[in-house]
């Protein structure tokens, strides 16, 4: 008999790779998603001028530059001990809502939504925006592109550049808003509000009116009873740009509420030998492995995490939709992973309504947009990126240069939950070593709901990130590989 020597797998590497480990009976024991970790950030930033951080960090990620830009800017406010003028905060939030508009539209129509609009069983090459256009019509395709561009235009007007903003400074912003620009944003936003309403209606017609889809949403493999986390305002309503971090428990009740600068008192990071990604958990509850329930400190962030962690939306139309979602899916909290899609659309509507509130605020065209900075020190900035809570933490030296920088990004906050969702989806599809053909689709749906961000480099050329699922047997020997 041939002896097979198996090297212990210490760290699995690769971009967006999924590894599934089977037990002795050929059933799923565990499943892991490897998210690439970029190296050398701390060394790269050490000794740089602190005020360059909003520009540097906005280049980390081609997907959420605005989120990094403002997490960095807010960390600098604290580090330089300065409170921005009220108008500057409003301008930042306005721009931030523009980012949510284009990012959430992108996810629904291009990434997550096609699973529903085209159908979870449809071939992969149809489940994309081109399939959506084929099914919903060319006109809808044009509307999608138009409103995504409006969101981008709003951020470009305020941020100086659409993709990599240059406006955030410690103590404020570099550029105010003219009356013409104010009017331009208002016009675009009127259209965006209607488009957000239309999109919720589309979701209603296609998903909620289809019992099969609702059954999938409520099914066990797509359910996790974790804690939920998100920023809330003084009324415990969802806020993307500012507020306190609130955590609710499995019963939907407040479990923790704290300021961003206290995060390290409440959040710890668990390390697994197979992954560069750390797994954050609630310190007071503790790390109990990849488990849900009140005894496990794993929490979820992102659209559903935020809505579960709040008491409602701060604008009227979005709040109506918020109530409707909880009535439809059985009260708070909603633990159905696929409800992230619905929550995301409610947030889209909120973002458009919030833009309208801010743009009509007389203070928005004020020139009082920056306060002088104080002495350099330490600062923590927290925002809600489209995909969840994002934390920047800097220590500055006496000359205002970066001594230490640490980031906890949204996808990392969700890392524990994403792994569990993938495992649970895989469990239903691998039995006694038999791998069901639908595996890739169902696993994809599980992680896509979170809108995880794998790609921090910016390549457009293909051949880099195919979805790859590696299945290992009980001896951790490669058993099957599925790629697309």
């Amino acid at each position: 008999m041939k002896t097979i020597t198996i090297d212990p797998i210490t760290r699995l590497e690769g971009h967006g790779k999924i590894s599934i480990f089977l037990d002795s009976k050929g059933n799923v024991e565990n499943a892991y998603l490897q998210i690439p970790e970029l190296r050398g950030f701390e060394r790269f930033t050490q000794g740089r001028r602190a005020e360059d951080m909003p520009q540097i960090t906005s280049r980390i990620c081609g997907v959420c530059p605005v989120a990094h830009h403002f997490a960095a800017t807010k960390a600098l406010d604290k580090a330089f001990n300065v409170e921005p003028p009220s108008a500057a905060k409003k301008l930042r939030e306005l721009m931030y809502c523009g980012y949510f508009i284009y990012d959430h539209i992108l996810h629904f129509y291009f990434l997550g939504g096609p699973d529903f609009i085209i159908g979870p069983d449809a071939p992969a090459d149809k489940r994309n925006i081109l399939g959506v256009i084929e099914k919903a019509g060319l006109e809808i395709g044009k509307e999608v592109i138009k409103h995504r561009a409006y969101g981008q235009k709003m951020t470009a007007i305020l941020g100086g550049k659409a993709t990599h903003p240059v406006c955030g400074l410690p103590g404020g912003v570099s550029k105010g808003l003219t009356e013409e620009e104010r009017y331009e944003i208002e016009e675009m936003d009127e259209s965006c509000i209607e488009f957000a309403k239309f999109t919720l209606k589309l979701f209603d017609d296609i998903v909620l009116q289809n019992k099969d889809y609702v059954d999938i949403i409520l099914s066990d493999p797509y359910t996790l009873n974790t804690y939920n986390m998100g920023l809330v305002d003084e009324n415990n309503k969802v806020n993307f740009y500012d507020g306190k971090i609130r955590v609710t428990n499995q019963k939907g009740k407040e479990f923790l509420k704290f300021n961003g600068n206290e995060y390290f008192e409440h959040i710890s990071e668990h390390v697994e030998e197979w992954s560069y990604t750390k797994f954050p958990y609630l310190k007071s509850v503790g790390w109990k492995g990849f488990k849900d329930g009140e005894k496990s400190g794993i929490y979820r962030v992102g659209p559903l995490g935020r809505l579960n962690a709040s008491d409602g939306m701060a604008t009227p139309l979005a709040d109506e939709q918020y109530k409707r979602m909880y009535e439809t899916l059985g009260g708070k909290p909603i633990n159905s992973t696929l409800a992230f899609h619905w929550a995301r659309l409610i947030e889209l509507l909120f973002a458009t309504e919030r833009v309208m509130e801010l743009i009509k605020d007389p203070e928005i065209t004020s020139n009082d947009i920056r306060n002088p900075v104080g002495e350099p020190g330490e600062g923590i900035g927290v925002v809600e990126a489209a995909r969840g809570t994002l934390i920047h933490h800097y220590k500055l030296d006496k000359d205002g240069l970066i001594d230490k920088a640490n980031l906890i990004v949204a996808t990392t906050n969700n890392a524990g939950a994403i792994n569990m969702s993938i495992r649970d989806a895989a469990k239903g599809l691998i039995k006694n070593g038999e791998v069901n053909d639908g595996l890739l689709n169902m696993v994809e749906m599980a992680f896509r709901a979170y809108d995880p961000c794998f790609a921090c480099a910016t390549h457009t050329l293909p051949g880099q990130m195919p979805l790859e699922v590696n299945i290992y047997d009980v001896n951790r020997k490669p058993y099957k590989k599925l790629t697309r």
């Binding site: 997907v63 044009k142 993709t163 990599h164 390549h459 457009t460 050329l461």
Partner: protein, 151 residues
């Protein structure tokens, strides 16, 4: 005829920035008012908004095909057509899909010609403003190829 020379890449992620660096080098050499030179550190749909209204677009980007580092490829969008189905699993939308979307939604605005110069790179996951030596050496070569291309 309006031409766009577009370098794609992230200048703080080592070799990923090669497209950015080529565009920077070209910006000083091209004086023709019908040719714009731009660089972006993002991809996906943003590309569509940038390339529309041009007749010809020359893209410079990094690629990892597992061949010799520093190799320069001249490619066309159809070279990637077999990978369109990958888009669903990536965060953003890849180039061929972007072009398809454009052709469906606004064919009249789409460039008639798109050429891609891709450079085989080594390191894209380490924060650094420096490229690896093999990749850095290709920058003047790619600059010359692009200048020829738009002549």
């Amino acid at each position: 005829m309006k031409t766009l020379v577009l370098g794609i890449g992230n200048p703080i992620m080592s070799d990923d920035g090669v497209g950015f660096h080529v565009a920077q080098a070209l910006a000083g050499k091209i004086k023709d008012e019908n040719i714009d030179v731009e660089d972006i550190s993002t991809s996906g749909l943003n590309l569509l908004e940038i390339i529309i209204e041009y007749d010809k677009v020359v893209i410079i980007d990094a690629v990892m095909r597992g061949e010799k580092v520093g190799k320069i490829y001249k490619l066309y969008p159809e070279d990637f057509s077999e990978t369109v189905h990958l888009t669903g699993s990536m965060h953003e939308v890849n180039l061929p899909t972007v072009i398809k979307i454009g052709n469906e939604l606004m064919p009249e605005k789409m460039p008639k010609e798109i050429v891609i110069y891709a450079i085989e790179v080594k390191t894209v996951d380490v924060f650094s403003e420096e490229m690896t030596k093999e990749v850095e050496k290709t920058v003047p070569l790619v600059v010359d190829r692009v200048l020829d291309e738009i002549k």
